[in-house]
Symmetry: C2
Subunit: 372 residues, 2 copies
């Protein structure tokens, strides 16, 4: 592939400075989701850590470099997850962290940023205004500006998810799996899916034939916001597992980077309208788009209703409370079942910082319906 | 310490035959829980795997031994989690698995056992009747009976959690942490807790002074059911980190093994009355009690209301949907804040298989209140 700004060796090095609490996250097949989706689904869970999102991987790289070489003061704009992660990483290294956020940001995220001891400045506008304000603070105070997705460290941190996916995929090669499981005839087992509980078929007209055990994953669905997660994970997959399809997913209500990818030029929008606060940008960064053009096989847009159904399915069938951005992958499958039928899809559950009131409103009064 | 039935070398060997999907589970501090509990709290999360409980560790050991040497047919009694895990482990190795359960068992657990292709037989009684029936099936059919907590493999599998805890604790030694974080003066940072959001103080009369960063954990809270988890993890902790206090927690409504521990002889009860279905036994196994007497520092009983508050706190402040047994540790802290004040407690979140209707009923209509 053509060169992105990323380098696999640097990503491996980045992994060594990240607190292990953010690394080696669970990757597991969730069969209870599969009858409703018609494909094999594995979850890469990035919420079981001190900041409940994948952003700690990147901020650990940023903060460890600053602690060694850089200024001790740092500012970032954030929809909430980056700020929380930078506050955590900075606190552990004695850095002075300021976070700029929209005053409309998710309250739970802002609360945690404050609780972690960071300075928090709210702007009366959206995330793009927060980005402008953070840049102004950095210029005025002469402190380090951390720009999500533009700063390589944020992409390299996120990219370590890609290393873990590739390593797990290598272990899961059918040969390796059969050897470990001491199975001589895998085909005998595929019939077992016929015994799956038929009441679990929520939205499927006919029973999908899903393999047991599953082949290695062939598709990774990645929430697309600023682009750090997509370009980081995408770079590693294209470098080390080029046969895996990399599909980015963004809400229809915040389509700027997806439209940019399709038109191969930066497209901005005047506003955003989505509950997926973590990915609601309007002004894609040109260098990030360039990388995305090299590593993404597709970028798709999904409706709000699908995001909400995805959140509900993750609650009902996986027992996971997630924020809207983390349900984008499930939403993409729901909107195009034929495309994914029979495939083995990994969806990165990237965050779980959500306001309780909003969550209940979205997922519904029957927030925990028949079966969790 | 005196010899339990367990052996640390065998536990290390057991780890090598367990599917990695059950190993290396997240262990992370959850600061959002701390203002309400008055101590440093870390979660060892055993729910992010294909069977949503820690039981897969043990059934992997059982099934891999059977696949190599033993009969191909196996039966177990289960409240649901062991059966689901044995079904998963057996399916991957071509074993014929039968699970016997109470017809009052959690429906979500029974559904998953069926979906995984195991035979399921329901008895019209409680878990102790299921145990009798499973033993009868094994005798009659001449197949292998897996007895949770009695069979060493079930304890050895659970004990691998202990290995992970000890390894993480070694990494987290204050010296190591300071070095990694490049901090020269840890005391400067403790003041940051003063900035914690005061609205988070749900039940505390005065602000606890919690350390940032935290010292290594000094206490592990373990749900006590049959005893495999407690004796397994307890054995490893007493062998490799003897300074750590091992506290078992059981519901007041299912106190048989806790009473037995206090009286140092097997005490049975006529019935159980608890929502914590995973730990509701009436007839402790003598050999398991003997081990428990050697490794547990204490065994405490908690009220149902505390279990429910614990479930709600894990939902509100950690974003975790858990089954009642997994909230026993939080319940124990809630009932004795003074005992745990200022300590660093690990609680093992051991399962998340729960019926949605029951969960909503327990946790309340405001299932996801003010802040998730």
């Amino acid at each position: 592939m053509q060169q992105t700004r990323l380098d696999t060796g640097r990503i491996r090095a980045a992994r060594r400075v990240i607190d292990p609490v953010f690394l080696g996250t669970p990757l597991y097949r969730c069969e209870a989701l599969e009858p409703g989706l018609g494909c094999v689904v594995s979850i890469k869970l990035e919420t079981a850590n001190p900041v409940r999102s994948f952003k700690g991987r990147g901020t650990e790289v940023v903060a460890s470099l600053l602690a060694e070489h850089g200024p001790r003061a740092v500012v970032c704009a954030s929809a909430g997850n980056l700020g929380q992660a930078l506050a955590w990483s900075g606190r552990g290294r004695g850095l002075d962290v300021t976070v700029v956020a929209s005053r409309f940001a998710t309250a739970a995220k802002l609360d945690r940023i404050r609780a972690l001891g960071a300075g928090l400045e709210l702007v009366d506008g959206d995330h793009e205004l927060a980005r402008e304000r953070a840049a102004a603070i950095a210029r005025y105070d002469g402190i380090r500006l951390v720009e999500d997705s533009l700063d390589l460290e944020t992409c390299e941190g996120a990219a370590t998810i890609g290393l873990e996916l590739v390593e797990a995929r290598k272990r899961a090669k059918p040969g390796a799996q059969a050897k470990r499981a001491d199975l001589t005839d895998l085909t005998n087992l595929t019939n077992l899916t016929d015994q799956a509980d038929p009441t679990d078929l929520t939205n499927l007209t006919e029973q999908a034939e899903l393999p047991v055990p599953a082949p290695p994953f062939d598709t990774v669905l990645i929430a697309l916001g600023g682009g750090a997660l997509a370009t980081g994970v995408g770079h590693v997959l294209k470098a080390l597992a080029p046969g895996v399809e990399v599909i980015c997913v963004q809400p229809l209500g915040a389509p700027a980077l997806t439209r940019s990818w399709h038109e191969r030029r930066v497209v901005t929008t005047d506003s955003t309208d989505t509950i997926a606060d973590g990915v609601a940008g309007r002004r894609p960064i040109p260098a990030v788009l360039d990388d995305l053009l090299l590593v993404a096989d597709d970028a798709v847009l999904v409706q709000e209703a699908s995001i909400i159904t995805g959140m509900r399915m993750l609650l009902d069938h996986a027992g996971l409370v997630v924020e809207p951005s983390a349900a984008l992958g499930i939403a993409a499958i729901l909107e195009d079942r034929d495309r994914f039928a029979g495939r083995h899809v990994v969806t990165i559950v990237c965050g779980s910082n959500v306001d309780g009131d909003a969550y209940r409103r979205w997922v519904g009064a029957a927030a925990l319906p028949h079966r969790v």
